[in-house]
């Protein structure tokens, strides 16, 4: 059966060059980088070199990068770590209502711990209002945590303006850039970002490795206490192969980003245009232009997302949905809800997220099989019967 992967925002395949780069550290160079002897030398060097590659992609210094186990850990570390270090300075954190759960639930945890948290609303495109952000900052605010790009809709936030505001107001800016790194050029210095999260497996490195950029001078309490690894900021013997992989993935992103983004944007636009031309009653979720090149989130009105995904899966196409029926909690996507999308339209949402390996043939195939699937499900839907009259 055909296998077409359009769920790159969930995870990406490991890039062949990344795989090649990490193998030696699983095979021959298995030493503990903290040791004093020969076995440590190569792994230690490899970590230093990976750190430089990550830093180069973000425009920072190598010693401003802390390796972690995933994007969720980086987000937890940033928020809890800064809050703890600045406990004496204030008790207020600002975030948005459309963050990834690893930020949202961390902020809810902080609320239970006695912190005040403002969850900024978004407009129907998923955009925040910068004036509202500015007005929300008080002398008690210590941290603003706002994502670079949304994982469900791809909407890109005005990070540069956010950085200006936070810098001007003297509060720290943490940016969850897990979905943006490698797809959008990021220069943390120019953007005035103080902390930035990224994750290997969204970037063609394997699962189990991430990083947090912490601007020099930013005080942060470790999340994981223990040994002196990562300059006392993150204990635990390093995931050497994973770190090497993340370094390689960042190096490749720097080298290939322009070309890949052009390729992916073209395919995504082709998919979007094709769907809109071939299928009626489709609504775009997210910003029409300020959007990740990889992401297309659309609602097929009058039908439900899981049943679309099952049909696509039967034909070998992998995608995802913000429908309540796929959520495990039976709540529709919090992102679409925050955007004011009615629940029945959120129900029919499907997210296609593209990657470097996708081809024109993939998109042609999806455009061929999707209309009959939608048509068939609509023929079963009591809601569609009403529309058709």
């Amino acid at each position: 059966m055909k296998r077409i992967y359009l769920d790159h925002n969930a995870t990406t395949p490991v890039h062949p060059e990344v795989f090649e780069a990490m193998v030696p550290y699983l095979k021959d160079e298995w030493g503990n980088p903290s040791s004093i002897h020969w076995a440590a030398r190569e792994p230690k060097k490899a970590i230093d070199s990976a750190r430089e590659k990550v830093a180069a992609l973000l425009g920072c210094e190598a010693n401003e990068i802390v390796f972690t186990s995933c994007g969720s850990e980086s987000n937890n570390f940033a928020i809890k770590g800064v809050a703890d270090a600045l406990r004496g300075k204030g008790n207020h954190i600002i975030t948005t209502s459309v963050e990834h759960p690893s930020v949202l639930n961390t902020c809810k945890f902080m609320e239970r711990e006695g912190w005040e948290v403002t969850f900024l609303p978004v407009d129907p495109y998923g955009m925040i209002d910068l004036d509202q952000l500015r007005d929300s900052i008080t002398d008690k605010t210590i941290l603003v945590s706002i994502m670079f790009a949304n994982n469900e809709t791809g909407t890109i936030f005005p990070v540069e303006e956010i950085g200006k505001i936070t810098r001007e107001k003297g509060v720290l800016f943490h940016c969850d850039a897990v979905q943006a790194v490698g797809k959008v050029p990021i220069d943390v210095k120019r953007l005035n970002i103080d902390l930035l999260s990224l994750s290997g497996h969204k970037l063609y490195a394997p699962k189990g490795v991430g990083a947090l950029y912490v601007r020099r001078g930013v005080r942060i309490t470790p999340l994981i206490h223990g040994g002196h690894q990562e300059r006392n900021r993150r204990a635990g013997t390093e995931n050497v192969a994973g770190i090497v992989a993340l370094g390689k993935a960042c190096e490749i992103a720097m080298r290939d980003m322009d070309e890949e983004v052009a390729h992916i944007t073209r395919l995504r636009d082709k998919l979007e245009k094709g769907i809109m031309e071939r299928i009626e009653h489709v609504k775009l979720n997210g910003h029409p232009t300020k959007r990740l090149p990889t992401t297309l989130n659309v609602s097929f009105m009058y039908i439900e997302g899981e049943s679309i995904l099952l049909n696509l899966d039967m034909k070998g196409v992998a995608a995802s949905s913000g429908s309540a029926c796929t959520s495990g909690s039976l709540e529709p996507s919090h992102v679409l809800m925050a955007m004011g999308v009615p629940p029945e339209i959120a129900h029919g949402s499907v997210r296609f997220s593209l990657g470097r390996d996708n081809t024109d043939e993939d998109i042609d195939y999806v455009l061929e099989i999707l209309p009959p699937i939608v048509e068939r499900l609509r023929s079963m839907s009591p809601l569609y019967a009403k529309v058709k009259g």
Binding site: Y302, I303, E304, E306, S307, L310, N311, M314, S323, A324, C325, T326, G328, L330, E331, P332, P343, E344, H347, S379, M380, S381, P382, L383, Y384, A385
Partner: protein, 125 residues
Amino acid sequence: MYSEKVMDHFMNPRNMGEIPDADGVGTVGNPACGDIMQLYIKVEGNVIKDVKFKTFGCGAAIATSSMVTELVKGKTLEEAEKISNKTVAEALDGLPPIKMHCSNLAADALHAAIEDYRKKRASKA
């Protein structure tokens, strides 16, 4: 995640559609996740002669709708009333725990259709 039987009923739903001159119609919504099912019955004597459904919902909701129509066709109203969400789920070789509530939709729609039929008859008599 789903049994083969669920996938079969989902991909090849039985008795999908509407009965324009139905004797009873049951429309229920699923409060848990906002799905809708409509079930039409045609009754002769005391027996459900024909049944059709339309569903807006997940794979499990569509499969249970389809299954419930198979289970009630040719049954007496009393027999049909005994069909519960458990009967439907079991007939499909089980549903994932998170999807059990979807089978309520089908059983509820059936019971609502029978009730609608009884009400209509009572008002005619």
